[in-house]
């Protein structure tokens, strides 16, 4: 009987994205999240006394040039070597793009599979054959699985491959292959990488994406980690998922229906924060919190979103201290005032509100908006407008959303202005 660990998509030293700093933000507790998660992986391997660790690609980010990361990786490999734990790794699309991969100073106990052909390593002491192939270039669109040899008879066969299979949502296509391609090889375990969400594609044989080991932005929510397999008599006896992440990304929604004042809103938010914290197994969380529901306080929230955001952040610091980073506060509430019905009654004010409500999001129809946008484009670094960014100004949806929020802000302020004495 032996155990092994399967992890992928380490993306060492890749930064956490979308965390805007604020006064009480727990900057320190989130430092080096990827490295810490990787250290957790090594600790786990040592603790579980596994026979070997499988790394199914993407150890680094493609454009990351700091060799220090490589040194860190070597050291961690060294730690595994000292405990007699072997490592089998393939290069993924990111690794292939990175010069560091070839220059890496790795101990003899770590094997990086060839990128020119499929290699098979036999471990006679535990009866295992590991078949694997690295990416030679960043873009591999051929079916690498097709080149894998049939299973070694009488051994526990593992296929190590970085692939998007037949396509996964939100992930680019790399080394495409079908499930059948993999099954036909007769392996007992396919250790895949590339997809950042954990997925057991099949359980007979095991075809597994372990997911990344540390979420890096709000689209990578939930527990992240690796898979721990126990093999006995050439069969998988037990499969366990082990969280390794040091910071968890959480997106939650708070229903404000029937909340009638700020205190109640904050109380509901506090409850949500406490709940989300409790479900993170003691890790700090980066929280996106969205407020929904029909409430009489909606206008106030829309009117001063930044004030509201600040009070939520302060509440976060108060509730969870260094264990909570508010990633973003989103307001999606609905006013209790039936504006449309009220507007039908006429009146100058009603007319105005109606006009504001029906303002077109098209920048052309808001005089001066195009100037503002081009000014921003000129002045702000391009990274802020990337495809992944919330601020992709080339997307009509982004502008539409901002205009909608501006409308709500204006309505909110018009409705409460002069009353806030």
């Amino acid at each position: 009987m032996f155990k092994f660990l399967h992890a992928a998509d380490i993306h060492l030293d890749s930064p956490l994205r979308g965390l805007s700093r604020y006064e009480s933000a727990p900057v320190e507790s989130l430092r080096n999240a990827c490295r810490n998660a990787f250290e957790n992986l090594v600790d786990l391997a040592v603790e579980e006394q596994v026979a070997f660790v499988l790394l199914a690609g993407d150890l680094y980010d493609g454009d990351w040039k700091d060799y220090s990361t490589g040194i860190f990786l070597s050291r961690q490999m060294g730690r595994l070597a000292r405990h007699g734990i072997r490592v089998y790794a393939v290069a993924g699309n990111h690794d292939a793009a990175n010069r560091m991969t070839r220059a890496l100073d790795i101990p003899g106990t770590m094997k990086m599979f060839s990128s020119s052909q499929v290699e098979t390593i036999k471990l006679d002491d535990c009866g295992v054959a590991v078949h694997g192939r690295s990416f030679s270039t960043q873009h591999v669109d051929t079916n690498l699985a097709a080149e894998f040899r049939p299973a070694e008879q009488g051994m526990f066969n593992i296929g190590l491959l970085h692939t998007s299979l037949d396509g996964r949502e939100g992930h680019a296509v790399y080394a495409p292959c079908t499930l059948e391609d993999l099954r036909s090889k007769g392996y007992q375990y396919w250790a895949l990488g590339h997809v950042h969400n954990q997925e057991f594609v099949s359980r007979d044989p095991y075809i597994v994406f372990p997911g990344c080991i540390q979420g890096r932005h709000i689209r990578e929510t939930g527990a992240k980690g690796c898979v721990l397999g126990t093999v006995e008599d050439g069969c998988v006896k037990e499969i366990e998922t082990c969280p390794l992440d040091v910071l968890r990304w959480v997106s939650c929604t708070v229903d404000l229906t029937d909340a009638s004042d700020r205190m109640e809103v904050l109380e509901l938010a506090r409850i949500a924060m406490t709940r989300e914290r409790a479900s993170a197994d003691g890790r700090p969380i980066a929280l996106r919190i969205r407020f929904e529901g029909a409430t009489s306080i909606s206008n106030e929230l829309y009117a001063y979103p930044e004030r509201f955001e600040q009070s939520i952040k302060a509440l976060g610091a108060e509730t969870a201290g260094d264990d909570l980073w508010i990633e973003r506060v989103e307001i999606g509430t609905v006013s209790k005032l039936e504006l449309k019905a009220m507007l039908a009654e006429g009146g100058a004010f009603g007319k105005l509100l109606e006009d504001i409500l029906t303002t077109s999001p098209n920048p052309d129809e808001i005089p001066g908006l195009e100037d503002v946008l081009s000014e921003i484009r000129q002045k702000i670094p391009a990274e802020a407008f990337g495809d992944d960014s919330l601020l992709n100004l080339d997307e009509f949806r982004t502008i539409e959303g901002l205009v909608e929020e501006a409308r709500q802000l204006l309505l909110g302020r018009l409705l409460i202005v002069g009353d806030a004495k």
């Binding site: 700093r21 004010f349 921003i376």
Partner: protein, 1170 residues
């Protein structure tokens, strides 16, 4: 929507107060109340009623929160109304005024469109003074911007300009293209910095490899250089050593040569020189001391011979000192003597005067004869005192006697006036005691009478309530009632029978229900299936068979049966009819077969129906039987009661009745007992009255006892007894006083007699005491005392003068004795006194003694100095001898004869010792510098080297070595540098951290820009809307507002106009009647307020017609308006009131008065809270 009525049911200080606002088509309603209590509360109530009572309210000071209620009635323009009550709370606060049940909140929706809430309502349909002022100020701040002015007035939003600038400022605080401190600009800078840091902190792969290679090369180079350094170092150290020791070696050789040259020399101890020198020193010192001591001794001798010591004085030292001491006393005595003499003469003349006053017949010298009299002093004083005591005592006693006699007369008179009483008090007391012992008989009697009356009355009532019995109470007492057991038996039997009837009834009901159910089922069955019976089948078959018979007869047998056929077939032909009948029979048979279930069920149901019917009949019969039995039992029951002529109820009732009868009888008996007690008490009371009355009559027949209560009579008697007792007591006291007075008189008389006796014996004694004083025997004690005092004073003075005389004598004697003593002494020592006074001699002696003492002291001092000097002389001699001996010893030690030879030997010894020491030093130095080599080895090594070229050689080797070392240090620095560089990047997370920060800055930027865009877009939209609004509404609103403005300013302005400002913005202008145009900032505050009001009302009017009108609530905007303006404003409001209900809340009476005087089309209605 309008408000028809507002009910302040329980709110603030109001309870059940109603405000009727239903008058007029819509109407202007002026609501007056004093400032806090009336006006504001009612306005708050109105808002609270429509939109809910605030969580925190101050209007709960009379009615608590749970009791607060506001009600009223709303009406839409289509006539639909809603009445509701609002309570305080979170949910379900609307109540139906009729049922008090909660109403759904949605009932309000048609009246308050779109969930209109309180702030919005106030904003759109309300105006108060502060908003008016704020509106005016806003107009000023907008600098007359027409669009903003119209817009603010239309929306009731006073802070429009503030809102716009808030949006713009907010955006600017976040981002400005050409700033650096704004939030987003800072984030951009931070982002760029972080990017730079990533680059700086990153370790490129090639760089890493280069460093590794450099490190290994450097390490190898360092190893090689170190090897070379080792070789060179060895060489250098050899040269160094030679260089170091070469001087020492030469020196050593020189020293050894000098020692040899010195030859044989005796080595003297190191301290030899010192010892020799000190011995010489000592010798010299001794000789000097000796000559000094000799000269001093000679001088001392000379001095002591000069001194003179007078031993005759020193031998009598004590005597001289004693004399000298006495001088003081003697001088004082001589000084005092004249004073003593004067004193003596004064006392003596005083004594003479005193004696003359007492006894002029006697001379001073004979006065001593009188001295024995002075012993009588105590006696005379005592007698004088006794005399005055006796006088006083006699006077007191006489006074006492006189008083007692007067008192006796008074008492006797008083006693004579007291009368003897004839009354026998003891009888009276006995009678009263007897009456008291009986207690308060009258009260008890009254109580008992009352109780008897009440008891009797209660019994009577109870009896009359009892019913059934026709006789009186006494008859009831004597009537025998049926026994309890009889009643129980009847009750049980009756109960048994009625239970049975109930059971039977229930059974009958069940049976009839069952039979109904069966009937229904049967009917249902018949309805759905129309199931035929077998009887029907048989009937059909019979008909069919008859047809067949007829066919057979007609067609087979050919018999005539036309008539029958006609009957059978009626209208149809026979075959057709037969066929039909066959079909019918078959149909029935088929149905029977098909509906066999129903048939069976029907049969079953019919059977059950029959059975139920018969069981029902049985039940009815049973009921009748039991009923009969019950009637019989009732008859029997009545029979039981017949003898006592009572109409009985049910046994249970009769049992209750009997219980009541018993209770009644008990009460009657106890009432009768009470009545008997009344009689007893009455008799007792009367006997007491008689006995007391008799006693009273005895003492006083005039009193009318009729109608007097027993208690009063007893009190009267007690009063009489008290009077008698008091009189007796007084008489006793008088008699006692009289006895005492008589006794006092007798005692006083006795005292007077004894006093007379005492006076006689005193006179005798007195005569004896004063004999010799030269007075009459009966001289008054005071006179005698005075003379006696003078006598005593005389003796006092006389004695004192004698005393002085004795003293003077003593002084003279002392002085004489001293003189003799001094002269005797002076003569004894041969002192020449010449003719000096004794005192002066004594003083002279003393002075000379002092001088003799001083001379003796000097002599003693000189003697001791001489002794000391002799000792010094001896010491010096000894020292000289010792020094000479020592010097001789030292000469022997050095093996020479003379002192000069000693010096030379000592010099040689010192030189040898010095050389030896130097050699030792040199050899030690060689050992130290020779790197462990022996002197001999060093000498050998030195032999190979050329001392002259050593310096050059050494310089060469040193230079080579330095070069090598410098090279090595350089390489080491290099290695360190490379290592540092490597370790700086060695797995460091600096770059990763910078990249983390860059991402955070990026996120800052994104969120900042998002908010920036929201604010900018909001501002753009708002500006756009304001402009649009202006374009659309400028003309109509401005015209109407101009009219209103003219009115409100009482014609001071003619209207309003718009114009483009210099910057091309449309601005608002006021036009005076003379055509002058006034900009907004030129207007006064009040005018601007009115301008805002005009714009506000104009917009309100303009939009009023478009939908359901809402009431316009005006709160005290007329503050600060004078009467004229108030009237105009009310007029303008009443114009608005033509279109919608206008509610004006005010706390100024004048506003109400002005409103009452207003005649308008819409109607003005005033309401007051008092």
């Amino acid at each position: 929507m309008r408000i028809d009525r507002l009910d302040l049911l329980a709110y603030g200080r109001f309870t059940e107060t109603f405000l009727d606002l239903s008058e007029g088509a819509s109407g202007l309603h002026v609501i007056y109340g004093d400032n806090e209590a009336g006006k504001s509360t009612s306005l708050r109530a109105l808002i609270g009623w429509l939109f809910g009572i605030p969580v925190r309210t101050d209007d709960n000071f009379i009615h608590d929160n749970a009791q607060l209620r506001i009600g009223g009635k709303l009406r839409l323009s289509n006539g639909r109304t809603l009445e509701f009550i609002r309570r305080k709370g979170k949910k379900g606060t609307l109540l139906d005024p009729r049922t008090g049940e909660p109403l759904d909140d949605s009932v309000l929706s048609p009246f308050l469109p779109g969930g209109l809430d309180e702030p919005l309502f106030k904003k759109l349909y309300g105006i108060d003074h502060s908003r008016l002022v704020e509106g005016g100020r806003e107009l000023l701040n907008q600098s007359g911007d027409l669009g903003q002015a119209l817009f603010s007035a239309a929306t009731g939003t006073a802070g429009l300009r503030k809102l716009l600038s808030e949006l713009k400022d907010g955006a600017e605080a976040l981002f400005k293209p050409r700033a650096s401190t704004k939030v987003v600009n800072r984030a951009i800078t931070g982002f760029k910095d972080s990017k730079k840091r990533i680059k700086e902190a990153s370790l490129p792969v090639a760089e890493w490899k280069r460093l590794q290679k450099e490190l290994s090369e450097t390490v190898t180079a360092i190893e090689q250089v170190e090897k070379q350094i080792k070789v060179k170092s060895k060489e250098k150290s050899r040269l160094d050593r030679f260089n170091r020791v070469k001087g020492a070696l030469a020196e050593r050789r020189a020293l050894m040569e000098r020692m040899e040259a010195l030859g044989e020399v005796l080595l003297l101890p190191e301290d030899f020189g010192e010892t020799f020198k000190s011995a010489h020193g000592k010798l010299q010192w001794g000789m000097e001391n000796r000559s000094r001591a000799e000269s001093r001794l000679a001088r001392l001798k000379e001095e002591s011979e000069k001194l003179k010591v007078r031993s005759e004085l020193l031998d009598n030292e004590e005597m001289i000192l004693a004399l000298y001491k006495e001088i003081g006393g003697v001088e004082k005595a001589i000084h005092d003597r004249p004073q003593q003499d004067a004193k003596r003469r004064l006392l003596r003349s005083e004594a003479e005067q005193l004696l003359k006053a007492v006894r002029p017949d006697l001379a001073l010298e004979d006065a001593d004869r009188l001295r024995p009299l002075t012993n009588h002093k105590k006696w005379i004083v005592d007698l004088a005192r006794r005399h005055s005591l006796l006088e006083q005592k006699q006077e007191n006693t006489e006074n006492g006697l006189r008083h007692a006699e007067e008192e006796r007369a008074v008492l006797k008179e008083e006693l004579g006036r007291q009368l003897e009483s004839s009354l026998d008090v003891d009888d009276l007391k006995a009678a009263v005691a007897a009456a008291r012992k009986a207690g308060n008989v009258e009260e008890r009697l009254a109580d008992v009478q009352k109780r008897a009356f009440e008891d009797n009355k209660a019994c009577k009532n109870e009896f009359s309530r009892l019913g059934r019995f026709h006789g009186n109470v006494d008859e009831l007492l004597n009537t025998a009632m049926p026994l309890q057991e009889t009643l129980d038996t009847f009750e049980k039997t009756f109960d048994g029978l009625s239970d049975k009837i109930k059971d039977l009834d229930r059974r009958r009901e069940e049976l009839s229900e069952d039979s109904e159910r069966v009937e229904q089922e049967l009917n249902a069955l018949l309805l759905i299936s129309d199931a035929p019976t077998t009887t029907e089948l048989e009937d059909a078959r019979k008909v069919r068979n008859k047809g067949w018979e007829l066919i057979k007869r007609r067609y087979v047998v050919n018999l005539d049966a036309e008539e029958e056929i006609a009957m059978y077939a009626k209208d149809a032909s026979l075959p057709v009819c037969y066929e039909q009948k066959v079909g019918e029979a078959d149909h029935i048979s088929d149905q029977l077969r098909l509906a066999s279930d129903q048939v069976v069920k029907r049969a079953d149901l019919e059977t059950r129906k029959k059975g139920l019917k018969s069981r029902l009949q049985t039940a009815v019969d049973d009921i009748e039987k039991v009923e009969a039995r019950r009637l019989a039992l009732e008859k029997e029951w009545k029979q039981v009661w017949k003898p006592i002529e009572i109409e009985p109820g049910s046994p249970r009732e009769m049992k209750q009745w009997l219980l009541k009868v018993e209770q009644l009888l008990l009460n009657v008996r106890s009432a009768r007992l009470v009545s008997a007690e009344v009689e007893n008490l009455t008799a007792h009371c009367n006997s007491l009255r008689e006995s007391i009355g008799a006693q009273i009559c005895k003492s006083d027949q005039t009193i009318d006892l009729e109608g007097m209560s027993l208690e009063a009579m007893i009190s009267l008697c007690e009063q009489r007894i008290a009077q008698e007792d008091e009189a007796l007591e007084k008489r006793r006291r008088l008699e006692h006083s009289l006895n005492r007075v008589l006794l006092d008189i007798a005692r006083a008389r006795e005292d007077l007699a004894s006093i007379q006796k005492d006076r006689l014996s005193w006179a005798e004694e007195w005569a004896q005491a004063i004999t010799g004083l030269g007075l009459e025997a009966d001289a008054h004690p005071e006179r005698a005392t005075e003379v006696f005092e003078q006598l005593l004073a005389f003796f006092d003075k006389f004695d004192k003068s004698e005393d002085s005389k004795r003293r003077i004598f003593g002084i003279d004697q002392v002085s004489e004795q001293f003189k003799e003593k001094v002269r005797a002494f002076a003569d004894s020592i041969g002192f020449e006194s010449k003719e000096q006074e004794a005192v002066a001699i004594a003083a002279q002696l003393n002075r000379e003694l002092t001088e003799a003492r001083e001379a003796r002291a000097s002599f003693l001092k000189l003697e001791s100095q001489e002794k000391e000097t002799r000792a010094e002389l001896e010491d010096a001699e000894l020292t000289i001898q010792a020094a000479r001996g020592q010097i001789a010893g030292l000469r022997d030690q050095a093996g020479v004869k003379t002192d000069d030879d000693v010096e030379a030997a000592w010099e040689h010894s010192k030189t040898l010792r010095n050389l030896k020491k130097q050699l030792e030093t040199v050899e030690r130095e060689l050992t130290r510098n020779g790197d462990g080599l022996s002197i001999r080895e060093l000498e050998l090594e030195a032999g190979d080297l050329d001392a002259d070229s050593i310096r050059q050689e050494l310089e060469r080797v040193s230079a080579e070595l330095e070069d090598l070392q410098a090279n090595r240090d350089r390489l080491r620095d290099r290695r360190q540098m490379v290592q540092n560089e490597l370790s700086a990047n060695d797995g460091s997370d600096a770059a990763a951290e910078a990249s983390e920060e860059a991402e955070q800055r990026l996120a800052d930027m994104v969120s900042g820009i998002e908010q920036y865009l929201r604010l900018r877009i909001a501002a753009l939209i708002l500006e756009q809307r304001i402009e649009e609004y202006r374009q659309k509404n400028q003309a109509p609103v401005l015209a109407r507002a101009g009219e209103l403005f003219a009115k409100l300013t009482l014609g001071s302005f003619a209207g309003l106009r718009d114009e483009l400002s210099e910057s091309g913005m449309p601005i608002l202008l006021g036009v005076r009647t003379n055509g002058m145009e006034i900009t907004v900032d030129q207007m006064s505050d009040g005018t601007r307020d009115q301008l805002y009001l005009a714009l506000r009302l104009a917009t309100l009017e303009q939009h009023m017609h478009k939908g359901e009108p809402m009431p316009f609530v005006v709160d005290d905007i007329l503050i600060g308006f004078d009467d004229n303006r108030t009237a105009v404003c009310l007029e303008v409001l009443s114009e608005i009131a033509a279109g919608t209900q206008v509610l004006v809340f005010t706390h100024h009476q004048s506003v109400v008065d002005l409103a009452d005087g207003l005649k308008t089309q819409a109607g003005v209605y005033s309401h007051r809270f008092d």
